[in-house]
Structure formats: C-alpha cells, structure tokens
Subunit: 425 residues, 2 copies
C-alpha cells in the first residue's frame, strides 16, 4: 500500500514545517567545512568542535543538557518523569565523508533534537530520559577506521586504536587530548549492555528503494553484514597476435566469467554483490592478460545468506579456474556481521509510520553501515529510513524533501510516545 | 608430418654450425644497447650507427657491398651473373623494443648474410643480385610510428612523418640529418613496384605454434591485418550496499559479457581476438561501476574474416548494451589490412623446408607485424618462421635453438637456389 492509504492521516502542514526546519539546520551545518566549496568535516578537527558547539545550542533550546563525551561525541540529555527509567538514545553522526552531502548522519541528529523540542513545546514529558547523540566519527575518514565514536561509546573500540595515526602521523590519543578530551575516560564512560532501553536512528536511505516504491519512510530490518574480498586469477601472458585462441590461459576471461557469476549468485541468494574494481595484467592492448584481479563486495541482512553466497561463489570461481587452467587466490580484507534491528523496535517504527503516514510500513535492509552497527553491542537498535533523491549519497547531490524529513521526525515522536505507553521490559 | 619424416634429409652438423654462428652474432649485437643490462636499441641513435657498422663488416665478409640508405637502413648487395636480373631482397630489422630479446628481427638479417656467405664459400653465384637489408626502424619505439625503415624504402611513408617528434621533441627530419642522412633522398631512392623479384624474410615465430607442433620451421601465409579499438559502456554508478540487484545499470557487467563475446566470436570466425586492458569507473570496491572501458585487438590473415568478426562483435555488444540499458561508445585507433604472402613464395619456402627438414611444410599466419607489411607495396613477399621457445618475444627470455636457426638459413639458401633455377616471370 502507498502512503496515506488510510486517508487523511498525514498532517501536511506540520510535516513540511518541521521538515523545513530540520533541513534548514542541516544546510546551515554544511557551512562548517574544512574544504571551502565542498562539505568535508572530519573527526577531532576545529570544524568538529564548531559543529558540536552549534548543535549543542540547538540541544539547549530543545531542553537537552549537552556535554561532550571522551570520544568527542556530543550527548544531549533530557530527564524523564519516572525515577530510574532507562534512557532511550537517538543518535547519528555529525562527521562527513570528503565532498559530502548535507543529510547523511546529520539529519538524524537534528531530527532527534527536533523531536525532543516538539515534545517540549507540546508540554509533554516522557517517563524515560532521552539522549540525543551526535557521534564524532562514523565515516572513518581521518583514521581510516570507521565508527570510532559509536564503538567508543559501546565499549568495543580496541585500546590499540588509540595508537592509530592519521595521515599527519597524529595518533588518535593525541588528537583526543588536543581536542580537550581524556582518553583514559573512554572505558569508564562506555555504555554497558542493559544501560539503554533502545537505540533509535533516523537516517536517509542512501538507496533508491523508497523512491521506487513512492514511500517517504521505511523500517530497517537490519544493517547488512558485509564481506569484501580481492581475487586474482593467474594465467599466462602472451602476444595478442601470435598465440592461437586454443590453449590460451587468459586470466581476464576467467575474471569476466567471475563478474557474471557474482551477478547470478547475488540474484539467486537474495544478497547484493558488486565487483567495483578490475584490472588486467600487464594491461597492454596487444598482450593476452596473464593476470586479472577484481574486488567483491557482498552484503546481506542475514549472515547465513552472505555465507551461502560466498560459498556459491567460491565453488563457481574454483570451477572457472579449473576449466581455464588458471590459479585463483583470494584475500578477505573486510568481514563484518549483520546488525539486526530488534523486532520490537521494527514493529514500533512500523506502527509509528502507520500512524503518521498511513498504510502498512515497508521494511528493508540497510546496505550501508551506520552507528547502530556499534550500538547493537549494548542496546536493541531500531532504524527509520527517510527517502532521498535517486539514492544518491556521499555526494553533494544528496537531496531530501522537507516533507519526508518532517514525516520522519513525526514518526520518531510517535515512536517515543508509543514507547512511553509501554512498560520497559 | 613431423620434421625429418622423409628420413636423413637434415644435415645436422651443417645446421648446428651455421645456426651457432648466426646465434653468436645476434648475441654479440645484444651488447649494442642504450640501456646497460637491457637490450634497447632505437632508431637513429648512436647504437643504431654502431649496429650498422658491425653488420656492415659481416656483410663485407660475405661479399655484400654495404651502404646506408636515406632512412638509415643498412643495405648490402651482391651482384648476380645475369645482366638486368631483378634483385631478390632478404630483410628484417636491427632495431629493438625496450628490454628486448636478441633474435626478433636481427636473426633474419644475420641469416640473410649467412646465406649469402655460404653461397659464396661454396663458389655459387646466383643469376640475380641479392640485397640483404637491416631496417633501421620496425618497432616504432622512438617515433611511436612503426615500420619507418621499410615504409620509407617502399615509398609509402607520408612526407608529413618527417615532422613527427620523439619524446625529446626532435623531429624525424632532424634525427635523419644528424645521423648523416639526406631526407630529400627518401622518395628518390624508394623502390618501385616491380623493382624487386621478391622480398624474403626469416623471422622467429614469436608464437607457440611451431613449438607445439614440434617443427623447427614454418611457411607464413600472411601477416595478419589488425584492428584495435577501445570500447566504453556507460551505466549508472551507485552504492554497492544500498542499490538492489534489480534495476542496476552496472557497466562492468556489460564489459564482462563483452570479454566473453570476444572469445566466442574469435573461435567462431577463426581469428585471434584479445581484451588486454579493462577498467571500471569510479573503480572503488563499494561503488557499482557507472562506466567500464576495455580494449579489443583483433587479427586475421584475411581481412574479410576480421571484418566479419568485428561485425559480429558490434552486433553482440549492441545487444548487451540494449539488454542492460547501457550506452556503448566505440573508438578505432588502429586498423591495418593483412599483407598476404605471395602463393608462389609460400610454395618456394615450402619446397625449401621439405628439402632441408623433410616432410610437408606447415603453413601459418603471422599474428605479429613485420617489415613485409610495408614491402608488400612494392614486391611479392615470402616469410619463413623459425621456432622459438614458448612463443616468448619482446622479452629478454626470447630464445631459439641454434639448430632451428641453422635449418632456417639452409632453407633460405635452398629457396634462393630454387629461385635461381626458375625464370623471373
């Protein structure tokens, strides 16, 4: 069913007004950039400090008491009415990739603040505390290791990470200290399993599914697990003119079959799989490739599907190598499990969408990574996706409709109200 | 049939001795290099002058009067016994690629000198003059345009080529002048159609066919025509995690199908075809390729086969582009017709092989280019291939057996004797 299927459930004016305010704030924050003309804001830089300061003001206006945690995450908190109630955390990130869009991460933080602000304006106090978090590092641009903010908060950041250096040879420990933080406090202030009632995140989809379905919002089922590999076929180079087709050991022929196998297996197994890089060696027009390398990126909402897809590809690639008399080598350089969204929080957001937009909420996996991947270590996570234009992200062309963003914030408010009416299990 | 099938026809001692002398001279010339430790000898350089001087000495010892033509080609001539008889030219090249092998081109020049020397030692004068030519440029390393020596001699080098510059901004005209040559004489001294009775060339195969067949020598049917193209598929880039498989416009998927179509069409049409370069754009592990480019190299001994293969590929690539919703662009950057070897010269070399080695001579096309491609403009051409190790060429690992080279020189002598017994048509 499409949006508004139940008729008249959308408060158009409220959605557009609230969304416009959120979008306007995201647009303002785009001025806080390290590279003039582009939006680039990386971890523990002066622009990180500037964005925290600006967002802290907005937190204050919404009734949230803001502080910076030992990772440089900005944490705003408003207390609840019931003593000892576990807080609900609403988070996303304030850092960006290089030459970024304006909404990836940032929109979710501002939407969280807006939700708290709206509740306050309506005079509504919830029984549980709400914490709105702007994580300092999700994208991993500066230290080439992502989710430093949320992993630090979840207590899963290895201590060895403090010695990691950026391109200027500055360690994470030194960067934290120079930012005015105390790395020794990271472990002490990390959240523990059970501390939070829920971790909720609103994020642009960064994909085309909601747009194709004509829907402003969707419920995330899981943040997909991902495996990244590099494969290499070795055959035999030769003169493109003098070596007959029969008996060639053309490594690129093997890689070409592998690329098509990746497409076929992805469709069979219901995962997404991509070959993003490919090269032939030595790479001359008139030389039969003696080697061919390519990358594989496989993602799935269920780890068993990803494992099945990889096993199927292993089998097919081995068959290709055998039939073509090539040698195959495989290197896995990234392997992360899926972070499933808690079924009760999926249902929570589905009810919120039904209330705000009408119709039955669509559920979809997140192929991109998010802070929830770290927070799932200490809390049940729930995610709400907001439609974005053409699925474009990590790009200045990233765009959202104010109405969709407003509906997202209204759905978040509805979800908080819903939680308030239910016992904390 | 294999070598020696008629039994006892090979004079092993003569072949090995003659071959060892030729190989030894090729090995000596490898010392004349611009890059110590590698063999690199390019056109109109001091090393070109040095190789001409050394080879001119050997020509003189064989009874050939040596001179340098206006292109820097070294031309040795011995007169015949019959007044006005048209000369038979035996040629190949003395320049090399960078980091070359020792036998590509050079072996054919030295074999020609050896053949004339052997005839002289035996007191045998042929009715026609013999010219042995060491072409100055076949590989095209210095001016990025190949066959300058033989095209100049055949009168097919465009005058505009004189303005072509090398990487040091030196024009071909200036390089010729500084070498002591007169570019104004190129046209005047060019050979005209009918001047030569035949152009004969002995060359290492640079491919694996003779080795696979267990044969030392083979008759070349044609120097293949070649087309080189660059193709580009344009699709739509996207996030490897967030864009579902359905509806992707992955340009690399199209390129992978195209690579396999190249293999299939080459086999169907009996041509050789190679994809030597490939790239995906933007070329990141986690981005669906929005573009993919690759090269094609197609060679065939008959131009009609090459045209049929290209037409079949055009059709398949268009079908791939349509089915996958990709845009295809094609750029042809090299297109050269085949140079067929004259049937009577193929038969001449076949008889010579039968006499020297025994058995029925194998005929095979040359996938690599040779000076005959230029000389075919003014003379019937005939080529004799000598087996080389594993088909390796343009590489220091290039290797030949002295016996095979000696058999090649003996077959060349046999061919010259055979020609001497036949009227010049």
């Amino acid at each position: 069913m499409g949006e508004g299927a139940k008729g008249g459930s959308i408060d158009e004016r409220a959605a557009v007004a609230l969304g416009a305010e959120i979008v306007s704030r995201c647009d303002q924050l785009a001025a806080l950039t390290e590279e003039p003309g582009l939006l680039t804001r990386t971890y523990l830089t002066p622009m990180h400090k500037a964005v925290n300061a600006r967002v802290a003001e907005w937190m204050g206006e919404a009734g949230l008491a803001a502080r910076t945690d030992p990772l440089g995450n900005l944490v705003g908190r408003i207390e609840g009415t019931r003593a000892g109630a576990r807080p609900v955390m609403i988070g996303s990130h304030l850092d960006t990739v290089r030459n970024a869009g304006r909404y990836d991460g940032i929109m979710g933080v501002i939407a969280g603040i807006a939700a708290v602000g709206e509740l306050g304006r309506a005079g509504r106090r919830l029984p549980f505390p709400i914490e709105v978090v702007g994580f300092g590092d999700e994208e991993g641009v500066r230290f080439e290791s992502a989710l430093i903010g949320s992993r630090g908060m979840a207590g899963t950041l290895p201590d060895s990470m403090l010695a990691t250096k950026d391109k200027q040879d500055i360690t994470l420990a030194r960067a934290l200290t120079e930012f005015g933080l105390d790395p020794a406090r990271i472990r002490a202030e990390a959240r523990k399993q059970g501390d939070l009632r829920a971790y909720l995140e609103v994020h642009i989809e960064q994909g085309p599914v909601l747009e194709r379905l004509g829907l402003p919002l969707g419920v995330v089922t899981a943040i997909c697990g991902a495996t990244r590999r590099r494969y290499h076929f070795a055959g035999e180079a030769g003169h493109a003119g003098t070596v007959p087709m029969a008996g060639r050991r053309d490594a690129l022929g093997g890689a070409a079959e592998a690329v098509l196998a990746v497409e076929a297996v992805a469709r069979e197994k219901g995962v997404v799989a991509t070959v993003g890089q490919i090269a032939a060696e030595p790479g001359a027009t008139n030389v039969i490739p003696g080697g061919a390398s390519f990358t594989l990126d496989v993602r799935a909402e269920r780890d068993v599907l990803r494992a099945e897809a990889l096993a199927a590809l292993d089998k097919r690639f081995a068959e290709i190598a055998k039939r073509r008399d090539l040698e195959l080598t495989t290197q896995t350089f990234h392997d992360a499990p899926a972070a499933p969204c808690a079924p009760e929080l999926q249902d929570l957001f589905a009810r919120a969408i039904a209330r705000v937009v009408g119709g039955e909420a669509t559920r979809l996996p997140s192929g991109a990574g998010h802070d929830g991947m770290a927070m799932v270590a200490v809390a049940p996570i729930g995610m709400l996706f907001v439609r974005c234009r053409k699925g474009i992200s990590h790009n200045p062309a990233e765009a959202v409709e104010a109405r969709d963003v407003g509906l997202g914030a209204l759905a978040l408010i509805a979800a908080l109200e819903d939680l308030a009416g239910r016992p904390d299990a």
